[in-house]
């Protein structure tokens, strides 16, 4: 557990840190943060509860409990990570635990979008490469320096390319991953759009878009 949580802000072009490997396909957001922890009106206390039930079941041997992983910040996962519920509480719990980037074989879509929206870049690699990294980081500490611009990662002994959606990469490099301000810039177009939509017109005098 890290002490104080400082959220990422602005342009993100480099991330470096120690890898933590979590093995398993289809790890859903209920497992990342069980529903009972969603009873909150802010995300502040979620970090300590990440993977709560899985960790309890493994009685101290879960990767997030191992002593050597406590200062890790790059999570290595397998396929379809983050499937299920749209709860942003899942990446919010991960980032508050200390995760700043995720590398995996594939990600569920809403989870991926949530990660981008809070400043966690998610990279993909073929299954074999992920298995190799997980195997390597099991025997020794793996520190990675990720360069977003070149979509590459390097360590003392390794050097490899990472894949990331072009649009996500651009958003991190420009700092526009926090989308609100970008979206707000098109205020006029938005006004025009709402007025042009057929259903705005035919719903005008009924209860659908009633103002209270």
């Amino acid at each position: 557990m890290k002490s104080e949580f400082i959220p990422p802000i602005g342009k993100i072009s480099q991330i470096s840190g120690k890898c933590i490997s979590l093995i398993g396909n289809d790890i859903d957001t209920d497992r990342i943060i069980p529903a009972r922890f969603l009873k909150c009106v802010n995300f502040d206390s979620l970090g300590k509860s990440v993977f709560e039930d899985d960790r309890k079941t493994l009685k101290g041997s879960h990767p997030f409990d191992l002593k050597e992983n406590q200062d890790s910040s790059i999570l290595i996962v397998n396929s379809n990570f983050g499937c299920g519920s749209s709860r942003e509480h899942a990446p919010q719990a991960l980032i508050r635990w200390g995760i700043r980037a995720i590398i995996g074989e594939s990600f569920a879509e809403i989870f991926y979008g949530n990660c981008i929206a809070i400043g966690i870049p998610c990279f993909t690699l073929p299954k074999k490469s992920i298995l190799n990294i997980q195997k390597y980081s099991k025997s020794k500490n793996l520190f990675l320096e990720i360069d977003l611009k070149n979509s590459s990662a390097k360590s003392e002994h390794l050097n490899f390319n990472l894949e990331i959606k072009e649009s996500s990469k651009n958003m991190f490099l420009s700092g526009e991953w926090d989308a609100t301000s970008t979206l707000l810039q098109n205020s006029n177009l938005i006004e025009q759009k709402i007025n042009d939509l057929p259903y705005t017109k035919f719903n005008k005098s009924n209860k659908l878009f009633e103002t209270i």
Binding site: V41, Y199, L208
Partner: protein, 468 residues
């Protein structure tokens, strides 16, 4: 790249701009909010000193945390009370319409919006809940979003999103007797896998889909996300329009005529291009039950839990995990698996037709002695209708508990939970580890009719033996 599908048409209609990063800015016609994923979004708005841009396009209800036994306020659970109070306050401050408990219109957000006529063809709909895909049953493009995107919709009525590819899932023939929409969608997810839909919108089409009622279509689209697809939809038709007509928020009089004219033009063109097309024969689908820890791990009622070597290499890892967690043996028959708890409800199967079919199975029968069984209507409207029809009495006479509307044990955020390693027969949508409130609880997903049959026999049963 897809062309001229309903998805393409609705996407293009709602596109506000191409963003510098390469994604699109999409206008959201209807924004639905609830107590779990919205408070942080309102908090973020305040922090940024922003206002809700179009409060009339957002509608709220409360569903996830509400107790289903005693709904009097304040709730016994302080945290739940704090969440509903926060939603009440946020709606009041921002002039957002809120269908609260007791309004007659409260319920699970994906049950409420269609029954109020809020959900309409050709709209974009977003909600901080993955089962927003439900609304696609009306030919709207509807998807779940995270809390940061809820903030974006509140602030701008738009989100940044990459356009999805479109896969048509064509369902030939018709479902056979005793086989329901839930069985079909579980069958589809089993065949394609839980991540096949990533990056896709699923268009469900074909004679078997056309034959489904609107409520059954909602069950299909609801589960799109369990197949990895953020959005699932069905081209609107007469059934769609009939369902909407005269609903509280539906267009009326000359506006109805205008709406109908537009809606009738909204469908994928006959020669539209899909990124992918997959065909199923609906007549081959059996009552389907999950045996594992993902909604893709299911078998027909008369089948065995698959052996590890029968599964594709990529599915073997999760299967091993599932055998262990569920305590099932590969090769074991799913039929006759003992059950502890039966749950009928959720945004997947908590509508009036779901309660009707379950009541038909339960009528003049008794729930097996060792079973705890409860039915949770999807909304106050559903509950009232069920009472009018005397369904609540049938449930209660059989030994089911009859509860107040909410999400309940689908995700167990209230006090409805499995205990220890209990096995539930559940009409909900997810059988993930710990999903129903106990870290070692086990969930078997099935249709509401199958849950009713399991309740009577105390074990997984073939509902076709109960209905003629």
């Amino acid at each position: 790249m897809s062309q001229d599908t309903l998805f393409d048409k609705v996407w293009d209609l709602h596109k506000v701009s191409s963003l510098p990063g390469g994604s699109d800015q999409i206008f959201i016609g209807l924004h639905l909010i609830h107590e779990v994923t919205s408070p942080q979004a309102f908090g973020a708005l305040k922090e940024k000193n922003l206002k809700v841009k179009f409060p009339q396009n957002t509608v709220a209800t409360v569903d996830h945390i509400v107790p289903t036994d005693n709904q009097s306020r304040p709730f016994k659970d302080n945290l739940a009370e704090q969440m509903i109070e926060t939603l009440e306050k946020n709606c009041l401050e921002n002039k957002i319409r809120f269908f609260n408990i007791g309004s007659g219109n409260q319920g699970i957000v994906h049950v409420v919006a269609p029954e109020l006529g809020l959900t309409q063809p050709g709209m974009t709909i977003a909600c901080g809940d993955s089962h927003t895909s439900t609304h696609g049953a009306f030919g709207s493009i509807a998807f779940g979003i995270g809390t940061s995107q809820v903030r974006d919709v509140l602030a701008t009525q738009t989100i940044a999103m990459n356009k999805l590819k479109v896969r048509q899932i064509w369902c030939e023939n018709k479902l056979s007797h005793g086989v329901f929409a839930k069985d079909l969608v579980l069958h589809i997810i089993n065949a394609l896998g839980v991540k096949a839909g990533v990056g896709f919108a699923y268009e469900f089409a074909g004679p078997a889909i056309n034959a489904l009622s609107m409520e059954e279509r909602m069950t299909i689209c609801n589960m799109s996300i369990e197949g990895g697809a953020r959005c699932g939809y069905i081209n609107p038709d007469e059934k769609t329009f009939d369902y909407i007509k005269n609903k509280l928020c539906a267009p009326k009089n000359e506006n109805w005529d205008k709406a109908l004219l537009w809606w009738e033009s909204l469908k994928s063109d006959e020669n539209s291009i899909y990124d992918d097309v997959i065909k199923f024969d609906a007549s081959k689908v059996e009552p389907t039950v999950t045996w594992g820890i993902t909604p893709g791990q299911s078998v027909g009622i008369n089948q065995q839990i698959p052996l590890i070597e029968e599964l594709p290499p990529n599915d073997q890892f999760v299967a091993e995990e599932a055998y262990k967690y569920m305590g099932f043996k590969p090769g074991q028959l799913i039929k006759n698996t003992p059950i502890d708890v039966c749950f009928i409800g959720s945004c997947t199967n908590g509508r009036i037709s779901d309660l009707r079919i379950a009541a038909k199975v339960l009528k003049d029968k008794k729930v097996s002695k060792q079973i705890k069984a409860f039915a949770v209507p999807g909304s106050e409207k559903v509950a009232n209708k069920a009472k009018q029809e005397g369904l609540d009495k049938i449930f209660k006479d059989s030994g089911f508990e009859w509860r107040e509307p909410g999400c309940s044990m689908c995700l167990a955020m209230n006090s409805d939970k499995l205990i220890g390693n209990q096995v539930s027969a559940s009409s909900s949508n997810r059988n993930f580890k710990g999903r129903q409130g106990s870290p070692s609880g086990r969930t078997l997903l099935m249709s509401p009719a199958m849950v009713a049959a399991a309740a009577i026999n105390g074990k997984v049963s073939d509902v076709r033996e109960f209905i003629n």
